[in-house]
């Protein structure tokens, strides 16, 4: 339970430190709407915070929303489109309206729900999407244009003149759209990701979840219980009740104590499950340190959990739904269950005179809650007419004003609700003074998680709501999430589900007794909308009104998905948790289809929005990807080498010397040092594969286009591999170290893919062959030593017994040699540079020493370490192809290596390489290119066309693939892929490079610019 316990304690200490007794006095003063007693807040720990710069106080245990309520704040936000004044509507993560900008500077965070943000001392929050101030928002003039700004209006206009879109219309729309501002500095906080494994994952710690976790835990299975809230208990924290004869709060406490005592159970609070993926992988976000000003030292802000669970029990509860009527968005109109949460859990009074509008029994709980808190119920409006049996007594006792009808308007402004206009069943309207309107349109089971594998929820008439349909494998839904709304049922079903899930995972223990509670009735007669004049909102955040829905219907956007996309219903940060069902119900009414026929839109992860930083975890900056270092890396670094990231490798690019003005000067020096003396380069990044077994030769014959079984022991050979589609895959030299042992090398870039390919050939294509493969890439530190003095240098390094003469060690020879000091090395006489050269490998531990010893042995000959740039220059001077030529579209013949293709055997790619278009005479093939004007700089990516031709698709004949400044030819040269190139040696062509505004002439030449006869490497 690492993350959790850590952050918990940290949270408290942070809070405690801030509790200075002086403040405690002041504290309660500002909290005009705070109840004297009760609630799960710690009055001993007052917390200072500011909203829009105004200083206020709350208590430990508050959310930002409950603190605002306690401070009598009603207006907290402006809506997306019309900039209507908005307040707090819910008390959970489904909140559509009360979004604020949290924190400042690099930690600024837009669109945070005030209802889920825990209060901490020094918290700074600001309202968003308003100018200049929340009370006086200039953009609220949009309301005047409201008649035009209906759903989809922008598709019908802003078309003329076309040019105006990017310049005028769009910038206006973009500036108006969006809610908060994001930080524009790198996020300074850290994040990480972790894995967890369990038998049973329980999602949500209300009564159902707690009893499920208890049952599964007692039975002995490995359980993880995740709870989005800072505390376990769910609705029990708000609605109380009696369980096993104890008060609900006590029961929650004893339940969590029992869970804490079970070693096989892990409870993660502040942790929301946001995704359900394949194979039982669940994703959750733990808000480790969002309840403190900044994470402590070595602490992360948030952590993403991937929880691998065999079974899951989703007890995520239900979400109360609003009713659509004019003015239903005024600050002070609140869900009835939220009113109870603020009153009971936070001891904060949303209003002194509360009107209640409900179409179901559950809403009536609010009456008691308000009355017990000492507030008045202005009236209860219930379209069903009569008082539910359970509440008869209460109603009479407090001679409650009960009206059979519906709310048809709400009076008020930026300061919130002033009065509620009610139209009763016989059409008479009356106005009722109230400063808060509690609304309950019934409950929607929280089915989202059950639909993430594209299962569709099913309609249940009796509760007028969708319940989970076919859920992902291994997932059970119970409690309110499954439409079980009585406390007793939630406890029973939770227990049963927990026990069953545990049993399926093989847990043998006893799940213990079921906790008992009453089964209060839940009667509802659906009411979606009160039809009356005025804007009646369905989606509060996106300002989607009932008339937008019917307009969409008129225009043919009848599918719920069209409705969503045309009106943006349910596309806000709350994903329509409080609006989707209502919206589709109104669409159903408009089309005359039933609600189930109309159906729901697709539910997608995340369940609640997740910070991108959390999903990235620690993978940013230098930790973006892993890196690989060569054995001589630190040695090179000490000599001031400049490194370049090639794939994951960090390679020495060149070694600048004091006084050198640029890289070109350094690289040129390195090349000349090699060509005239001797130099060395760490080439350990090459992929190296030990190919062993009786059939190793046959195996290589089939993967390479040329033959290897005939290669003598102690010999090396250049090999080319094709993909099965006939295109070149990779190249490298492979040596035969023993009858049944080849040492194969690949390019740096392709080491991984080639290894996978070879294993595929071994295990899938030719399982009959006796071949074993193992990567030796990291075992060896490999250096290329090149230049006329190479042999002299090596002679000094190897044991005197070793003969390195042309006879004793001919070109393309390969064998083990003993070095002075006893180290055994592998020596290969191969040359990439075209010079007399060797490649030598020693065990990686000697890499640094080898570099040092090469310096010592080569001192008399001015030995020079060189980097990848010089390596590149020399390979281009020699016309050796590399990455830019092996670009995944070239054939062996394009590269001038067609003759290597054996006719005597089948090999990977042989057949497909013969297709007409791959053997056509007009293909682009590798040639050398040198500018006619020797002072000209040639650039890769420039195109080649006939001299004097006009640039166009027809004249485009190829391009320059690789270039370098050749110190030997003392001019820029390059390789290119040019149509019919080999037939055009000597031709002058046009080099066209419009991107860099260059246009000049060059000669097509033999790609081998330097020592074409190859005498030097044999030397």
């Amino acid at each position: 339970m690492s993350g959790y316990s850590q952050s918990e304690s940290l949270g408290r200490t942070a809070a405690v430190e801030s509790a200075s007794s002086a403040r405690s006095q002041a504290a309660s003063a500002s909290q005009s709407h705070r109840l004297r007693s009760g609630g799960l807040i710690d009055r001993k720990v007052p917390l200072q915070f500011t909203f829009d710069g105004q200083a206020m106080t709350g208590f430990a245990g508050d959310t930002l929303a409950s603190a605002l309520v306690a401070n009598g704040v009603k207006l907290v936000a402006r809506s997306f489109k019309y900039h209507r004044p908005r307040g707090i509507i819910t008390a959970g993560s489904e909140e559509p309206s009360a979004l604020v900008e949290m924190r400042t500077g690099a930690r600024k965070e837009p669109n945070t729900r005030a209802t889920t943000q825990e209060l901490y001392d020094g918290l700074v929050a600001n309202s968003q999407n308003r100018w200049p101030s929340l009370r006086r928002d200039f953009m609220s003039i949009n309301q005047l244009a409201a008649p035009i700004f209906v759903a989809g209006f922008y598709y019908k206009t802003f078309m003329w003149p076309a040019k105006f879109w990017e310049k005028i219309y769009e910038p206006l729309i973009r500036r108006a759209a969006g809610l908060g501002k994001s930080a524009e500095l790198p996020d300074p906080d850290h994040y990480d990701k972790a894995w967890a494994h369990c038998d049973v994952l329980v999602v949500g710690a209300g009564p159902a979840g707690l009893s499920a976790a208890l049952a599964a835990g007692r039975a002995g299975s490995r359980v993880i219980l995740v709870e989005e809230d800072s505390h376990v208990g769910g609705r029990l924290l708000s609605d109380g009740g009696e369980i096993d004869g104890m008060h609900a709060e006590e029961w929650v406490r004893s339940a969590s104590e029992e869970l804490a005592g079970l070693p096989n159970v892990r409870v993660l609070t502040r942790t929301a499950l946001f995704g359900v993926y394949d194979g039982g992988v669940h994703a959750a976000l733990e808000r480790v340190n969002d309840h403190v000003p900044v994470p402590g030292p070595h602490q992360v802000r948030q952590r993403v959990w991937r929880i691998v669970a065999k079974r899951s029990v989703v007890t995520a509860g239900a979400i109360e739904r609003p009713i659509v009527f004019p003015g239903n968005d005024r600050p002070g109109v609140m869900m009835a269950s939220a009113v109870r949460t603020y009153v009971n859990r936070f001891a904060a009074m949303p209003g002194r005179k509360v009107a209640l509008f409900t179409n179901n029994d559950d809403g009536w709980r609010t009456v008691e809650a308000i009355q017990q808190a000492g507030g008045d119920i202005a009236a209860v409006i219930d379209p069903r007419g009569k008082v539910p049996a359970e509440y008869q007594a209460v109603a009479e006792l407090s001679d409650l004003r009960v009206i059979s009808g519906g709310v048809s308007d709400v009076k008020g402004g930026v300061d919130g609700v002033r009065a509620v206009v009610v139209t009763d069943s016989n059409g008479r309207t009356q106005q009722i003074d109230a400063d808060c309107l509690a609304v309950s349109g019934g409950w929607n089971p929280n089915v989202g998680l059950s639909c993430f594998h594209r299962g569709k929820p099913v309609w249940r008439e009796d509760i007028a709501a969708f319940v989970p349909g076919d859920a992902p494998r291994g997932m059970r839904l119970t409690g309110a999430a499954n439409g079980e709304f009585s406390l007793g049922a939630c406890l029973r079903d939770g227990h049963a589900a927990g026990a069953a899930a545990a049993a399926e995972c093989g847990a043998a223990g006893h799940p213990g007794e079921v906790s008992e509670a009453g089964d209060e009735a839940y009667a509802i007669s659906p009411l979606w909308q009160v039809r009356a004049k005025g804007k009646a909102f369905v989606d509060f955040q996106h300002d989607v009104t009932a008339s937008d829905v019917t307009l969409a219907q008129r225009e043919g956007f009848e599918s719920v998905e069209h409705l969503k996309r045309y009106t943006t219903l349910g596309m806000a940060t709350d994903q329509g948790k409080t609006s989707n069902i209502t919206g589709l119900a109104i669409m159903a009414a408009a089309t005359g289809r039933t609600i189930p026929e109309t159906g729901t839109t697709i539910y997608r992860p995340p369940y609640a929005p997740v910070a991108i930083g959390a999903l990235a975890g620690h993978h940013r900056d230098e930790n973006f990807h892993a890196w690989r270092l060569t054995p001589s890396h630190h040695w090179a670094a000490a000599r001031g080498a400049v490194f370049v990231d090639t794939g994951l490798w960090k390679r020495a690019q060149w070694y600048p010397q004091p006084g050198e003005k640029d890289w070109l000067e350094s690289v040129t020096r390195e090349v000349l040092a090699v060509r005239n003396g001797v130099g060395f380069c760490d080439v350990s990044t090459l992929g190296k594969v030990d190919v062993r077994g009786a059939d190793a030769g046959t195996f290589l014959d089939r993967v390479y286009i040329n033959a290897f079984s005939a290669l003598g022991v102690g010999k090396a050979r250049y090999g080319l591999m094709l993909r099965e589609d006939g295109i070149v895959m990779d190249d490298g030299t492979t040596s035969r170290l023993a009858e049944d042992h080849y040492f194969l090398t690949t390019t740096t870039a392709k080491a991984g893919p080639v290894m996978a390919h070879l294993e595929f050939c071994r295990q899938v294509l030719w399982p009959e062959l006796d071949v074993q493969l193992s990567s030796a890439s990291d075992q060896w530190a490999q250096f290329s030593i090149a230049g006329p003095n190479t042999r002299k240098l090596l002679q000094a390094l190897v044991d005197p017994s070793e003969d390195l003469s042309n006879e004793g060690f001919p070109f393309m020879g390969a064998r083990e040699v003993k070095l002075r000091g006893g180290v055994v090395a592998r020596l290969f006489r191969i040359s990439f540079s075209g010079e007399m050269a060797f490649e030598i490998s020693v065990p990686a531990r000697y890499g640094a020493a080898m570099a040092e010893n090469l310096m010592i042995a080569g001192k008399p000959y001015g030995v020079t370490p060189y980097g990848t740039e010089a390596l590149g220059v020399m390979r281009i001077e020699k016309g050796h192809v590399a990455g830019p030529e092996l670009n995944g579209t070239t054939t062996a013949d394009d590269l001038g290596l067609g003759k290597m293709m054996s006719k005597k055997k089948d090999f990977i790619g042989r057949v497909m390489a013969g297709r007409p278009a791959l053997t056509a005479p007009d293909r682009q093939v590798v040639v050398g290119i040198k500018p006619v004007d020797a002072k000209r700089r040639l650039r890769s990516g420039a195109h080649v066309m006939p001299k004097g031709s006009i640039a166009g698709p027809e004249t485009d004949q190829g391009y320059v693939t690789s270039v370098c400044y050749s110190p030997m030819l003392q001019q820029w040269i390059g390789l290119g892929l040019v149509e019919r190139g080999r037939e055009r040696i000597g031709e002058i062509v046009r080099i066209f490079d419009p991107l860099r505004s260059e246009d000049y002439e060059a000669e097509i030449c033999n790609p081998v610019f330097y020592d074409p006869e190859g005498v030097r490497q044999r030397g």
Binding site: I173, G275, Y277, S547, F624, P916, S940
Partner: protein, 417 residues
């Protein structure tokens, strides 16, 4: 009814009661000259061009769900013509030109927004590859600029230039590229095609083909009955192999899932489209304010329209590497669509070996930008029985001939394209 600020104002007076359906909801007729399978962008655009450009109006578009319910309704809306190989270059530029006049042609605001695309490069090799591509574009009369790090900084000051790993060296910029409001493209073509007589038939799934004794396709079986057709055009994207199988055809196509992501709406942050060359990440910002971003395919064959965590994490890691300021912005929604990945990453628009059956497929993750041109050239093929000159290379037999158009050089490995 013509759309304009005036018609809007007028409608406002009557509380917008006056608006009529954007497209009709006709019952299928027994026979059409041309039946298009698939009510995505391509199918609807094809119908529009058949009616508008080639005078063939007795056309039906059959959509198994609601129009735009496939990838047209799921894509990250990038439009561009920055391709490097013959065949692609001209075709995508034709498309770009059609985008530039679409809204006026259709009398529908599809929010075509040419805010530019920048492909960042982080190594000399990448720069050279972009230089080659950019020059190809310029040679074909397409706008392209190669920017260095200093110039990029001017355009995008907020990127992570000091990255110790893959520092930004520059980028390839196409200013005319940008985004468009994907759903609106579907609705715009639907409305315009409908106005020209095309029947758009939703909730009508094609379940088989009707063939005559010579094997010629003469109609389709659907969930709403048999519908006769002079010619049948397939534009079913991720479902291509399934529909082709109904005609006994096997194609060089695999279906793969590509995920995309959108953040909560925030005030304008990102000017145009940015792609991160050293990671799998690209991003833009919708007019509504959401950051719209994505990355690689999940990598396995799929028809599930949803993906898994590894790619989600990979994409967000790329995002944080290149623009660490978005760390606190929240991902709001995540989804997947099914790509018809061809074996060389390039589309196929051609007659099939079966008489009367025509194919428009293989769009991979790049078909949204192609919508208008795809509609035009497919309509041309259906009307004239010969390929449009800008689509002459998108032939089905190119794999057999070895004439692949492989921009990425990955070969017959669809999940790598």
């Amino acid at each position: 009814m013509k759309y304009s600020i005036f018609s809007l104002a007028k409608a406002a007076l009557s509380g917008h009661k006056g608006w009529t359906r954007a497209w009709r909801d006709p019952a299928p007729k027994s026979h059409y000259d041309v039946v298009i399978i698939g009510g995505g962008g391509h199918g609807l655009a094809t119908a529009y061009f058949l009616a508008h450009e080639y005078g063939i109006r007795n056309v039906a578009v059959l959509e198994k769900g609601w129009i735009g319910s496939g990838n047209a309704g799921r894509n990250t809306t990038i439009i561009r013509s920055n391709y490097g190989l013959p065949g692609n270059t001209g075709f995508y530029e034709l498309s770009m030109k059609l985008w530039e006049r679409m809204e006026q042609d259709l009398n529908y605001n599809a929010m075509v927004s040419q805010r530019g695309i920048i492909n960042l490069y982080h190594s000399d090799a990448q720069r050279d590859a972009f230089a080659r591509r950019g020059n190809t574009m310029r040679i074909n009369g397409i706008d392209a600029e190669l920017l260095d790090a200093v110039q990029i900084r001017k355009e995008l000051p907020f990127l992570n230039y000091d990255s110790p790993r893959f520092p930004i060296m520059g980028g390839l910029l196409q200013r005319r590229a940008g985004t468009a409001r994907h759903d609106a493209v579907v609705w715009g073509y639907a409305r315009a095609a409908d106005q020209r007589g095309v029947d758009i038939i939703q909730n009508c799934e094609v379940t088989g083909f009707v063939r005559d004794q010579n094997g010629k396709v003469t109609g389709v079986e659907t969930s709403r009955g048999r519908i006769g057709a002079g010619k049948v055009g397939m534009a079913v994207a991720g479902n291509t192999s399934r529909v082709a199988a109904m005609a006994g055809m096997k194609l060089p196509i695999e279906s793969h899932v590509l995920q995309a992501f959108v953040s909560e709406a925030i005030k304008p942050l990102i000017p145009g489209v940015i792609t991160f060359g050293a990671g799998h990440f690209y991003i833009s910002q919708s007019d509504k304010g959401g950051l719209v971003f994505g990355g690689d395919l999940d990598g396995y064959n799929s028809y599930a329209q949803r993906g898994n965590m590894p790619v989600i994490e990979d994409v967000c890691e790329g995002g944080m590497a290149v623009m660490p300021m978005i760390g606190r912005v929240r991902m709001l929604r995540q989804w997947g669509g099914i790509m018809d990945m061809s074996m060389d990453g390039t589309p196929i628009i051609d007659k099939t070996p079966i008489d009367g059956l025509y194919l428009n497929a293989g769009w991979c993750y790049g078909g949204f930008k192609a919508t208008p041109a795809s509609g035009l050239v497919f309509a041309h093929l259906l009307a004239r029985d010969e390929p449009h000159h800008e689509a002459a290379r998108f032939r089905l037999d190119r794999f057999r001939r070895g004439a692949m158009i492989d921009e990425k050089g990955q070969g017959a490995q669809p999940n790598l394209h």
